[in-house]
Assembly symmetry: C2
Homo-oligomer: 252 residues x 2
């Protein structure tokens, strides 16, 4: 049962390659899992085209609605990397070369052909920003207040999240218990609804699947309190077994 503030976040994926279907996004799931550990709930994701107005509008809207806003993508050295400029314009601030980012890039490229004009683009930040360390490839992520501008390549995004671990204020993580079985969800819909209603502070998600030619579902019991989630999941398991279904802890 929730006590105190629930911290929320949104993600803006900058993303022609996602919208074209060429690339399967991995950052939504990655950020969602990471946020949950921080005690922060991912509440909304927007995938927008590589268009300045679309990026800016989405970021501004999300800042108004959530405690933390993350973006992924579009912070590299090429002409299609327009995230920093788009966000700065939307915020009404200038773009500056961050001296620490410049120094980091100078070191990184010292033995790799030097800091060219294109590479220096990766030191540009919206005025008033701090840096997020990127151990992978030198070019840093950017933090401006509660806005976090991250790389789009998933393992670099992961490195930046790693650098942020434990630095954001959050609440209690949401925990979940999953059970599953070859249960057609339409046969137990009444039971799911009644069980959720009987357990305040707990939600039950029902996720159908088809496997080995049979219909089944996993039921995910979520709560801020592991004890409550387990109590609810135990009761649901017992009720399903009473109806003759074999239930697997952890889901199928």
């Amino acid at each position: 049962m929730s006590e105190g503030k629930i911290w929320t976040a949104a993600l803006v994926v900058i993303g022609d390659e996602i919208l074209s279907g060429r690339t399967q996004d991995k950052n939504i799931a990655q950020l969602a899992s990471w946020l949950n550990v921080q005690g922060i709930r991912l509440r909304e994701v927007r995938v927008v085209a590589d268009v300045p107005g679309s990026i800016g509008d989405a970021v501004i809207a999300m800042i108004a609605d959530y405690d933390y806003v993350f973006t992924t993508g579009g912070i590299g050295p090429t002409h299609d990397d327009i995230t920093v400029d788009s966000i700065a314009a939307a915020l009404g601030v200038g773009v500056v070369i961050h001296p620490d980012a410049r120094a980091t890039l100078e070191r990184y490229y010292e033995t790799r052909g030097g800091l060219t004009e294109a590479r220096l683009r990766m030191a540009r930040v919206p005025e008033g920003s701090d840096l997020i360390v990127n151990k992978m490839s030198g070019a840093p992520g950017i933090r401006r207040g509660n806005l976090f501008i991250l790389a789009g390549v998933p393992h670099i995004t992961a490195g930046m999240l790693d650098a942020l671990t434990g630095t954001l204020e959050g609440g209690r993580p949401l925990v979940s218990v999953t059970i599953g079985g070859f249960v057609p969800e339409s046969e137990v819909a009444d039971l799911l609804g009644a069980t959720e209603k009987a357990h305040v502070g707990v939600s039950i998600g029902s996720y159908p699947f088809f496997k080995e030619g049979r219909v089944g579902a996993n039921f995910v019991v979520r709560s801020e309190d592991i004890g409550q989630a387990e109590a609810c999941s135990n009761q649901l398991t017992a009720a399903l077994e009473e109806r003759g279904y074999a239930i697997t802890a952890g889901g199928i």
Copy 2:
């Protein structure tokens, strides 16, 4: 280079299981690829929580901005399936049992225990809707004007898209040519920008990767005209090879 109208679409993913990080979304990439074949551009995606207001607000906003709007998820028989009610409320219309959906479900469940109250939920549609055939599991998708309410389980979503293939008005599909190599994108940023600028109607996306311990990038040349995309890609390949990079057609 565009001639005539560019048809646009948006997707609203209804999606606690995506936002929790539990499930990796597959419908964004699936819908994006399908739309492209129909000559329609996916321009925006929103992943929203299983909350009526969030679903309704997103759908209304997307309808105002794009030619077609799709939703995935939340149309099953259980208590957490609230998509139809949320959209109907946002549109200001009632929810009705669609007689054809009822008949379909009666046939489907005839040998599976009959049409219970929970299963009948899957025949409920916003007033004024038509059905989208679902060969996989009986419960239909829903079309209301240019709004398409689809299932969330990816292979059922796929079946519904299959039923819609060729029925939506679109323009020319965007085609792409991909080349790639172990090219640090920061070394060729100038070339990419200049090549794109020299080819009107063509865009070049640069997607860095790390593989076998080396830095590289794929360059995706997109256009409505395959001839223009190929001309641009050939010129870019020649220019990269002139700088000493080995380039692979199709990308790495």
